[in-house]
Structures are given as structure tokens and as C-alpha cells.
Symmetry: C2
Subunit: 103 residues, 2 copies
């Protein structure tokens, strides 16, 4: 699943994969935690987006952080939350930061 790195996925599929409600993904977007590309009105999530979200969920549900704190850490650019995570998540995070800077 999600092998082709150029491919992108619609919200329902991503929500199912992450085990969250699609409303939750809209909610995260409101806080700029993720910025899916849009073709027409539809949202499409890249593999990096999904990696990143997966890591955010882990921080929240396995480690116990909350949304706001993760956003704070991102804004501080501490890279704190990334010191103990696999390389592909670091890639996802950098990708996320790049997207943030775009607007």
C-alpha cells in the first residue's frame, strides 16, 4: 500500500489507512498540519503526507502529545520531535515544512 511515491490518494482512503475519520483530516488541515494538493475541489495526499500524518498520530496516541504542542514544536523548528524517528519521516517532515513555506 502506498508504494509509488508519485502517487496520491483521496481523503477517504487516507483516513481509513490512518484509522481516523475524514473529518479529522479536515480538522488537521485547519491547523496546517497537512496541506494536500487539490485537483478541482478534491484533496489528494502524497505518500510523504501520509508518512507525516502517521507520525503525528503516533506522537499523539502512543506518546501522548496533543495537536497544539506538535504545532508549537514544528513552529519552533526544534527538530525535536524528529530526533528519534526513521529517515523517511524526516523526509516527510522536510516536505511538510517546504509546503508550509509555499503560502
Amino acid at each position: 500500500m502506498f508504494n509509488n511515491s508519485d502517487k496520491s490518494y483521496p481523503i477517504e482512503l487516507v483516513a481509513e489507512f490512518l484509522g481516523v475519520n475524514s473529518r479529522t483530516l479536515y480538522y488537521y488541515e485547519k491547523f496546517k498540519l497537512v496541506c494536500p494538493t487539490r485537483r478541482g475541489r478534491k484533496r489528494y495526499y502524497s505518500r510523504l503526507d501520509i508518512n507525516w500524518l502517521e507520525y503525528v498520530r503516533e506522537l499523539m496516541y502512543e506518546q501522548g502529545m496533543n495537536l497544539r504542542s506538535i504545532i508549537v514544536l514544528i513552529k519552533r523548528r526544534d527538530n525535536v520531535i524528529l530526533t528519534k524517528c526513521p529517515d523517511d519521516v524526516v523526509d516527510s517532515y522536510k516536505n511538510y515544512l517546504m509546503r508550509l513555506r509555499e503560502d
Copy 2:
């Protein structure tokens, strides 16, 4: 205020200084965010304790983190939250970690 580093202060004074309810300090203690020394039943907070609590409050109210996330970061020993704070807070943090290891 709180100049003598050997001195320690009762909970009401500390609460007033930090602008919190003393119940809040008991609450933090429940999560081992601070471990005041006790003489008899009374709690006494050192200057380092107070520094540390002041920084925790700043993380919460100026930066927007929540209690649980701060506790997570402490447990991870990331020193993340300390990369952008004054030396005396680092001292307070190290002091706090030492205290934690005592029990």
C-alpha cells in the same frame, strides 16, 4: 524575590508568585512535574523548583503546549524544550531530573 539559592518557599507564596492556584501545584506534583521537599507535612519549593515551574508555565501559556506533552518531552530526555532557554532554566531542569531519579 527568591534570591537566596538555598532558601525554600511554602506553597502559597510560590503559587502567588507564579499566578496559579496552590491546587494547581498539587496537581503538577501528581504528574511529578515538580517534587518539593517536605518538612513534616509541609511542602517547600527551592529557587530551582520555582525557576523550573516558571518555565513550564511559559511553555504552556506563551507557547501553547499542554502538560502531557511537556511530560512526554521530559521522559524522552530530548532536551528539546531547553534548546532555546536561559542557562538557569537548564540548571533547574537538571536539578529536576536528579530529583526524579531519587525515587
